[in-house]
Every structure is written in C-alpha cells, then in structure tokens.
Symmetry: C3
Subunit: 272 residues, 3 copies
C-alpha cells in the first residue's frame, strides 16, 4: 500500500470565503501528519479547462503525493467522483470526473488504477450535498495519507471511461513547420503577461531565429530567445517557458496586453 | 489542561501586506509544533459582522483547536482582548471582544471559561500598540498550544458581559411559515453568487416545492431543490447550503448578480 | 553549521498562477521537515523596491530561519543569485542580487558571509531558465534547511559589491526638526490606508502634539497620537506604526485615500 504524506490542493474556491480553510481543517482532523500545499484556489469559478491546464503545467512537481482538485460545476449531480493513480503510484489525483484530472494524469505517464469514490465510509456526512470538497474529496485525500488503499475507496473504473483527454499540442516535423508554419492557441496568460502556446518549444526550432507571428490581420516579427535578457525594450520574444512550451514575451512588460492575447486566442507562427 | 495543536486563523489583514506572514512567524517561534490553518484573511477591512458570520459558518469544523480571529477596528483602545473556551474545551477562540467571536462560540454550545488577556507575560512587546494580532492575539494562541492554561492568560470575565450575541435566525412553525411567509435577510454571497439566507433550510420545508421569493417590488417563483442539478438553466433554486441554511442559487450562474442581492438584502419567502 | 527549520517566502508571483505552490512542492521534496511561511506573494510584478521594503518591515520577525525572496525582473540574465547571512547567522536571505535583500539584511545587523549561488549541484534542472524561484532559489533555501552550509552554495562575494543599500530614513536632531521641519516620503500604504513614512516615530517627537503636514499646496494639522482611539472622526493622526516608523492615519478610514497618498508621495512635516 502506497502511503502519502503530501496533498497538493487546487480549486476554484477563491480565498475570500472560508471554503479552503475548512477543507484544510477537515484534512487536519483525519490525517494530522499530512502537509497540505495550496497550488492555487483562484481558478475562475467553474472553469474546468483552466483548472486542468494548471494541473497539467504543475504535473511534474506534484509527486510523490496526493493531488486534491476541485473545480466542480456538477457537484450534487450524478457526475462521478474519482481517484486516479499514476502507473508508478507516485501520485493519486482525487476530484470530479469532468476532465479536470485527466490531462495531468496522462502527463505523469500511463494511468494505473482508477476508482469511483462510491464507498461512503470515507466521506463526511455533509449538510447539503453542495460541498464535496469538504465532504468527499478532502476526506478521501486525507485517508490516502492515513493508509487507506485506493481500492477501498470504491468501485473500479475503466480508465478509458474517464472524461477528458491528454493535452493535445500542435505538432509538425521540422520540414512541415518550416514550410507551412503552425497554427497554435494561447493556453494561458501568466501574471507577467507571458502568453503560453500549445506547442513544445522544441517544435518551434524549425522557425529559426526570427519567427513571424500572425495574430488576426497583423503580422509581427519575434526573436527566438533563451531568456528575457535577450530582448530589447519592446521586442517580442518567443522562448521556452518554465514548462517547456513556447511562449510569447516582452522584457518586463506584458506581451498579452500589448498584443491583445487571452486564453483561447489563435495565432499562426511561421518562418520570416 | 487542554493542549491544542492547531490554530485556525481569520483576519481582515488581506494577503498583499506582510501582516499574515508575520503573525505566522511569531507563532512559529512560540509554538513550533502548532499547525496554523488560514480560514480567510479577506474579510473586508474592519467588517466585524462579516468576520463573525464567517466564523459562525465554519464553527463546526474549527475543533479541536484554537481559533485566532482579528478584525479589530478598536485596536489600541480600551476594548477588551479575550479568550473564550467552549464548554467542552474543544475550542478556544482568541480575539477582540467586539462581537467577532460570540456567534461562533454559541454555535459550539454553551460557553465555558472566559478570560480577558490582561497578563502581559504572554504578549510580545510591540512597537506601537497598533498590531495586536502580532503582539497579543497571535502569541496567546501560540501559548495555548504550548501548554499555557486559559486561566493564566488574565482575569476571569463574565460571559454575559461579552459583546455580541448568538446568531438569530428567522423562525416560525410550519403553519406560521405556510400561512404568513417569512421575512429573511441575505447573510452572505459566496464566490459563486449563491445567496445564503438567515434561516435554517428545514424551516423552509413548509413553503413546499415552489416557494415564492419577493425582492422589493418583484416576485419570483423558485424551485425547492436538493442540488444544482435539479435546476433548469436560469431557474431560481432554493436549497440547503453546506452549512444547513437556505440559499438562493442558479445552476452555474450567480443568483446574487441576477437578482441584485448583497449581504443585508431583505426579502420575503412565501407559499405560491 | 547552522541548520534552519523555517523558510519565510516572499515573491511577486501572485496567487492566481501555480508558481507559489510549485515552489512549496519543490521545497517539500528537498526538505520535508522545513516549515514554509508565506510572507506575501502580491508584491506588484517586478517591483523590487516594494519587495525590499516589505522584507525590511518584516525583518525583526524573520529569524531564526531562511528567507526566500523572489522579485526578479532580471531572471535569465547575468544578474547574480546570492545568499546573505546575517552576522549572527540567525537568518540567511536567498534571492536575486538586485537590491531586494540588502535593506532587510542590514536591518538585521552587520552582514556575515555572502555567496553567489554558482554551485549547480544544489539547483534543479529547469525547463527554460525563466523560473529560478523553482529551479535555484527554492532548492537552495531547502538545502539550507537540510544541513548544507552556506559556503557550499557557491563562490564568496564581497558584501560591498551587493546591489542595494540600507534603508535611509529621514533624520534630524530635535532642534533641527523643530526649527526646519522634515521632508519625508510615503514608503507604503497598507490595506487600511495608513501611510507609512520614511522616518522613525521617535524623530517626530520634536514636532509636538499638533504637527503640520504639508502635501503639495495643502497644509493639514495632525494630532500626534498613541493609537487610533485618540483620534476624533475625520481627525488626521500621526503615530508610531507597528514597525516603529511614523504613519499618517485616520480612525477607521483611509488616510491615503483622503489625502491622495501613494508610495513615493513626498510631504513635509513641521511644527504648527
């Protein structure tokens, strides 16, 4: 039986209400030795995709341990609650089966055991069925740290029945990328205004040192850079971000604000 | 002597300034084994009522342990600093005697011992008397985790002299509610726009499955629901929220925004 | 060898992205026994001065332990990464050599050993060189808690070569202050709208009980107060704040909003 000592916690609860603290408190009662690390709780309310992408980005840093993730517009419905084990059992992801967990789970390698959280013995009796973070997911995450095995949590689930899919990145051979360019999408704009693209930075090597970025009717020339310091003031950079994806950046300024980029913006990269 | 190992911390300090971290740091020095769980620090500045309601909602999850609560517009005045023990000693609430602690204390059952924090031996020497969270309340919460008994903290206080009162909920017999309806008030709007009312959900059973909600001059028909999933798109729901109170909700949308509800809004519930 | 068990963490990462949580997770892997306390992560993006002032204010509460501070517009450039030990070894500050650490370091007393973080054995292999909080500073802070000595982190650095300087406060003898007044600057506006000035409160004793505050063309009369309670409604107060500096305050209202003060505003204090 794997036994974990760290829970990484993501939600859309925000920090103004008491939800996050109450879940911490419940876990403390059930697994006093577990450390609970807040990944973020400012996922926009009910934005499953934003939560899934955040977990995907953080995936390499989540183990060994339990991941507790709650962005759950279907709470109180018949959507399943699940626990997904990575094949090497380094990580168990606990949360709703709505696509939130699957991209991160696949980034950690092939899936191991998956169960639905159907055994009420490990849940709290809630007051209204509207706060499964407190009543189901948090307690289950805690139990995994106090020695309960995954199979005790509920019925086995076919991993292929899980909602969601591995994150699809834009791809192409170097020749294809150089000849035809690549249509990509902004996955995420971080606090500094860097715009992460859905493409591995290495795929962009074929674009050379001066890639062209076409956004709507406008065409910009960027510099392929190793870091912000390679960029002159106001010069658009294309670099490998801290998760290994391509990102559009300015030095000490927001590329997203300057170019009007938000999550979901599509753009085209090509050779000059 | 009760000895606690968990401090749940609420304040209006916000997270932009260093106040919260400094209090954590002070507690770490004085009681290195205690776990400090942040309930929220985004109570609106000096809004004692909002802080008191948040503690009230979280009360069932606060024990066993110490509650450190600081919303304190009277810091530096002669308002008392107090520690209130629940009758079963499962929880001690530490903070200013301004109404912040009392609703939660009564929700935990009858009050046990109450003391004023008049013994300076357990305080830090502060730089200006304007930051009692760091200099008085935080250190006292830490001492309670390192084995200091409540009576050592200062003089006994008559519980009836405490400021504030148990939270009053709207009440009525089923017949009264069905016949005359019920005037209620919005206590709180959460991040999702659910509007919590000052009435136990069970009291609303007498309204039947299609209660009428009168807000100002407008009358809406709601559906008494078990969960969000019972609601059609745009259909107003009245359900039991996660603290057992009635709440007005929409499925995946903000009822408060749609209806113009904020904390303090009064409305009337009745039978169709 | 000093061995620390607490890391106090400040950054400009914000709490919406996963950056803070990932750094916590990295530290947990490398030093599972260390407690990580968040001072704040809402320093405005890349505002080194605001970060340095926050560390300065918190300095008396930072030890014993490691301080991890990341406000780092120069990440990926040749700016140095450093660790600065207080002369009594009670604190080691880890972060970029850009002025962020030096004011707090000097407030802790004279500087002890200083090293550049040039030994890659203690770093993580990052994905892009753009997230040194995760890949360099966080791991180094963790190593200091797991028993690595400062000198193992990299090459010795001359403390005098560090960027930044001790915080300069406005000063004057009592006679000078009473005769000529004092030009001061707003260092910081806190959540409550109190405006901290760059002058020790004790220096202002020479101004008497009714100091004059000149802001641009307007002159206000303040009351030298011990606490907010000394102030009538709407009366401007000048008091010693919780770090021992002078601050302009209103009782239960924002002095900064009322007077149009922000960090950097200059004003003149004098005798009535």
């Amino acid at each position: 039986v794997a036994r974990y000592d760290t829970i990484t916690f993501l939600s859309d609860f925000g920090l103004a209400d008491e939800f996050v603290g109450v879940v911490h408190r419940v876990i403390r009662r059930l697994a006093s030795e577990a450390a609970v690390i807040d990944l973020t709780h400012q996922i926009p309310p009910q934005d499953v995709r934003a939560g899934a992408l955040t977990l995907w980005r953080a995936a390499p840093w989540l183990g060994p341990g339990v991941v507790l993730a709650v962005v759950d517009p279907g709470v109180g419905t018949h959507r399943r609650a699940v626990a997904i084990e990575a094949a090497d059992a380094s990580v168990v992801l606990v949360g709703p089966d709505n696509g939130l967990l699957v991209p991160a789970a696949y980034r950690l390698g092939s899936l191991g055991r998956v169960v639905a959280l159907t055994n009420p013995a490990w849940h709290l009796a809630g007051a209204g069925g509207t706060f499964d973070g407190r009543d189901v997911f948090g307690p289950v995450a805690a139990r995994l740290c106090s020695g309960v095995d995954l199979v005790e949590l509920g019925e086995h689930v076919d991993p292929l029945s899980l909602r969601g899919a591995p994150l699809g990145l834009a791809e192409g051979t170097p020749d294809e990328v150089a000849d035809r360019g690549l249509d990509v999408e902004v996955l995420w704009v971080d606090r500094y205004g860097n715009a992460q693209l859905n493409v591995a930075a290495s795929t962009l090597d074929a674009l050379g040192s001066r890639p062209v970025v076409q956004i709507g009717p406008l065409t910009h020339t960027a510099r392929r850079a190793q870091g912000y310091a390679d960029l002159a003031a106001g010069e658009l950079g294309l670099l490998a971000d801290s998760t290994g994806l391509g990102a559009l950046c300015l030095d000490r300024a927001s590329a997203a604000a300057a170019l009007g980029l938000t999550a979901g913006t599509t753009l085209r990269l090509g050779v000059a």
